[in-house]
Amino acid sequence: MEARDRARARITAILVGVLVMSLGGAAQNRLVNMIPQNRSGERNQDSEPTLAIDPNDYNRMAGSAFTWDNLTQGPMLTATAPIYISVDRGATWTLAYIVPSKMGNGFPTGDINLTFGSTLSGSPLHETSWLYGGILSAVTSGYPMSVLRAQDFQDGATVMATLDTRTGNVDQPHTKALSAIAGAPVGQDKLYVGFNNGYSCVAPNGRTSTLDISQNAKVAAPSFALTLIQSRTTACQDGFAQVPAPHLDGTVYAAFIGDWSGSPRVVVVRDDAWGTGGFTALTDPSDSKPGRFVTTALTLQSGTMGQQRLGASNLSIAVDPRNSDRVYVAYGDSNGANSETIHVRRSIDRGQNWSGDLLSATSAMNPQVAINSLGTVGVLYQRLVSGHWEARLRRTTDADATTFDSPGLLLANTNATTPTGTIASSVYVGDYASLQAAGRNFFGMFSASNYPDTATFLPGVVFQRYVDWASHKLYAEAAHTTEVPLSIDPYFFEADTLAPASDFYVRDWTTDATHADKGVEPSTNPVFYTTSDVWNRRNGSPGPFVNDQPTNQDAGNGSGNAGNNWAFARVRRNVTGPSASVTAHFLVSKFGVGSNYVDSTTGDPDVSFLDPDPVIATGAGAGPWTTSAYHWRLSAIAGNHLCLAVQISTPGSPYIPPSLAGATPGWPTTDLRIVNDNHKAQRNMHLSTTAGASGSVSDYAIVHNGALVTRDMPLRIAVSGISKRYVRNAQLRTIGSQRPATVGAVEAAGLGKTLVVPAVQPGENRWVRVDVEAAGLPAGGTAFVTVEELAGDVPVNGFAVGVRTGDLAGAIRDSLNIYRGEAERLVAGFGGKATEPDIKLRSVATGLAYMRFVRGELVPHLRKDLAAVRERGADAFDLEALLRDVETETSAARVVAKVATLLNALDASLTALQLQRGDPADIVQMVRWQKQLFRQNQKVAQLACAPKVIDASSEFIEGRESGKLTNREYPEHLKRVVSCLREAAGIFGGLEGTDFGALQKEHRAYLLALAR
């Protein structure tokens, strides 16, 4: 844990640089009064706001407040209450009358709280995610807590459907939805509604903190279940707010103030399985009961401050989207009579231990905390200063997200005595405000006076309603004839770390011209490695786009032109803006999951990165722009089953460090490095060409443990999208395991199942085989299955294998091309003699000729050469059986497919042999592992030389992550640490020389010994 946190601290240190750079450059902060122009005559006290942002598109937002259908807060004139909606990232707002209410009632809704799920709703009119809400309903006189849903929040046509209703003494729903992007619950909208269930001492044992949970709220008739999250008896009830905070990996936190009426303390509970486990994962050492105390007993705030009542809520919780171990809470307590102090604390170990105050502010309330994709923590609060309500956003500035900027961003500084809260006076600005992080930016809502004075707002404030800034007056119409009295309005703000015009991105997925990644972080498609905007070609042309997807070609290996490859990436932004220089940096890794990426700094002898990084000079538009062709080569000895990645950067917006070089998505932490950073994308897909509409092939992939601990690696095989139509069967198997399967592990898994590759050591490579059977494919169609590496329920990485159909001639051509590459590889690096790499492809154009060639040359030649290969290692890939399989086949089309499987196995077999010699791609991982062992292994950590190793390791890692060092410094690094390694582990090798692969292999031997 400590190592992970330190590693993250380093990363964050770099991020701080990113942040500072961004703030100094493209940052722009915006503040918008949300009352629409058409409602300029309104004088409502629109307090207690919440904001929801569509995770699929940050342009789509919904906001709520105590807003009536009428202009004067009179009894309702219709049966629907409005919410605020925007489809232009909050620049303009419209009221949509879609919340169920009741005509004649005194209020539109009681408390109201909105959240978007992140699966698209399939609305026919507008693309949008499902919008959910929790309200105290005005429809019946009992004012129950109702859970609502809208399929299309912007058409204004359909009243939100009521999904669930809870009656009794219910209060203050806090809603949060999150869609699982992997594992069994993939695509489900998890919905958590925290509420107080049984205030006024009516709940058994005074336990009132409750979550109403749906494990899939988007289905036609979702089921909900109550989970009581207070495990302790209280004097009467808990505090009114129960706030959930789910994470993509299935972790769900919730915070509440327990025992409100007795000994109130902030309590955090946790569940590690989407809320199905009863929230018992976190216990307090004082009584071993679920629910960790974050504070000692609080003196609760009471009375009023700046016309606003105190003590009704003031609790917030946020989990780091990149790491569910890190969680922050914000809360308020008494600052003496009629005053409150807010506090912010955090845990970096999943809620077990909590810091003291990282931030506190007196005379303040409504603290809201959120964490962006950079790991920056934002805190919004409202503070009474000299009779004015300040709304202020504070953000962390340091490596470890513990130090907040000061004084922060002042959003508003409005009079707290004017207007007088003539109605509903006790909720003058509301019992809470709202802060959300979306991507790298913070968005929020707060309520304040609408006295129009630019001096009291963030510069550039926009009022949609009619206003005369000079006379500080509001008007009902454009002609400025009917003056409107002051009231409380909701305000939207965006605090940019990165302005949209500077937010260039590479798509992680594209379905078609209208459905694609919009650069959100995290991206929302569970398959983020098959249709991304990074691709390879065998010539300098980017090739055609089909369904707005680039056409990828398998990499070629070999001497001369055969080894030439060109990488491309497509870059875009969502808005127009000034022209900029976008640099694209390409990397490759061996095919599978967990393999570390290499680039020009790695020193991999098999891969050459020939060109400087291409730089796109964007125009003023939104793109897309395709990079110039980036020339790279695979040597004759290299395998061509690879993953390709790109990371882009601009002077104002680098990719989120660290680089993928020497690393793999997901590790050494469970960072979702690709989906969380719209500046990175990867393509991990290998297709085999078959002849005709159906085909069965097997393909092979590496399962590399990129982590620093020995672990079981769960791999889930699935089929998605249009491939579902064609894939008839698929299976995933481990092969060549050098150890027996552990108890409980399985050796094979079918579609939808998870295969666990047991006890994989750091840096170890295992292999899996994927069998795919497809049928009914159209000409030129593709069908593939995906294999995801899971961390919890989250796919940290994945790959896809499958078939593409062609006519027989095309399939033969592809088959022979692949054979040429493998033959050349055998000759170049594995003692192959019998096979001629320059086979005469032109003479093998028909099925008959192909059959003759396969039986007469390909199989005999390979059989001879493989005898030499076998001498170097066992035939784990069962090549002889595959050769026999080819020999006995009589149909040309089926021979093509079987040769594809044979060559896939041969490629894997040769790569496995290569990897036995060590792998330069793993060098950084080895140094990370070394550092961790010298810090955490008690025996080793006690050595006098240990600090030196740790320091040297840190220096090397940071140099590699920042791009300041290449692997050329690796031998020198090993010289610095070798004596200590020997002292700790004995002698396993000299750790000398310049062969990076050999050095890495020796280094790993030391570390394995240490780890034992």
């Binding site: 259908d69 489809v87 009358y97 005194g106 006189s141 009516v202 009426s261 019992d431 119409e477």
Partner: protein
């Protein structure tokens, strides 16, 4: 703003009140057998007289233009100004009930309910009734009757559960919970109604009581969002009360058992809705609606 003034404003749509007087018996007759205009008006919070300026068009960026959308120029706003202000002279987007049934230049009453309010108003049409170019200045009685029916709807609903209806004078008001012996000390929600009991002398009985009687009325004194629109009677004030016995779904709002028991023991009635307590000037209106329901 004085509470009395606010309540008056809330419960009396000025235009509708005038219209109701003008229509008199005609409106009552229309309510018995509503004509289409009355029916449409009773279902519509927005009623405008306007002229179609574009069909297949929309002024609302969130609403794509279809053959079911039209843009109208508003000549007169007969209902809905309380929702979005007086839009007379401006334009609005109408989502037509029946697509392609209206042409550019057509002048009609448009009846509907709000969908979107942004830079301009968008409302969904319940229907429209064409009118000639030379419209009389007066509002058609059938339309006035429909508007009145709509404004009476909450009143009808409250009368449906009211046990006692009367105009009365508040004799005294006291905090109820302090009067309840043995009531447990409880924590309150921020939405706590803060019940009070008013002793009210019946000046004019309309249902279930008689002149001169004394009635205990329980009302929420809270100014929380859920209660601030319910009038807070003060000693000496005169109101029309529509008191009901505690309803099943509001028993939990009678926060503790003591309040509920008090209500039962004292034969008290509860007023918990904006239309449960009306200005005394509304006595005639309340009496009329009671008669209409008989």
């Amino acid at each position: 703003m004085k509470q009395h003034e606010r309540v008056k404003r809330s419960h009396r749509v000025r235009l509708m009140a005038a219209l109701a007087l003008a229509c008199g018996a005609a409106a009552i007759a229309a309510a018995a057998q509503p004509d289409p205009m009355t029916d449409l008006a009773s279902r519509s919070s927005i009623v405008v007289l306007g002229t179609v300026v574009r069909v297949g068009a929309s002024e609302e960026p969130l609403l794509p233009a279809t053959n079911a959308t039209a843009v109208i120029k508003i000549e007169k706003m007969l209902a809905g100004a309380d929702l979005v202000g007086d839009q007379s002279g401006g334009t609005a987007t109408v989502i037509l009930k029946a697509p392609q049934t209206i042409k550019v230049g057509a002048r009609a009453y448009f009846f509907g309910n709000p969908r979107l309010a942004g830079k301009t108003l968008t409302f969904a049409d319940e229907g429209e009734i064409p009118v000639g170019q030379q419209l009389a200045a007066a509002v058609p009685p059938a339309l006035a009757a429909g508007l009145q029916r709509r404004s009476d709807q909450p009143l009808r609903e409250r009368l449906a559960i009211a046990a006692l209806v009367f105009r009365g004078t508040v004799q005294s008001v006291r905090a109820l919970e302090s009067e309840v012996p043995g009531a447990p000390r409880e924590l309150r929600s921020e939405h706590d109604p803060e019940w009070r009991a008013a002793i009210v002398r019946v000046d004019s009985a309309l249902r279930g009581t008689q002149n001169g009687a004394t009635v205990t009325v329980i009302f929420p004194n809270s100014r929380d969002i859920m209660w601030f629109n319910v009038p807070k009677p003060k000693e000496g004030e005169q109101w029309v009360f529509l008191g009901h016995r505690p309803q099943e779904d509001e028993t939990r709002l009678l926060r503790n058992e003591g309040v509920l028991r008090f209500a039962q023991d004292q034969s008290a009635v509860v007023v918990s809705h904006p239309f449960d307590v009306l200005p005394s000037a509304d006595e005639g209106r309340v009496g009329r609606v009671i008669k209409e329901g008989q």
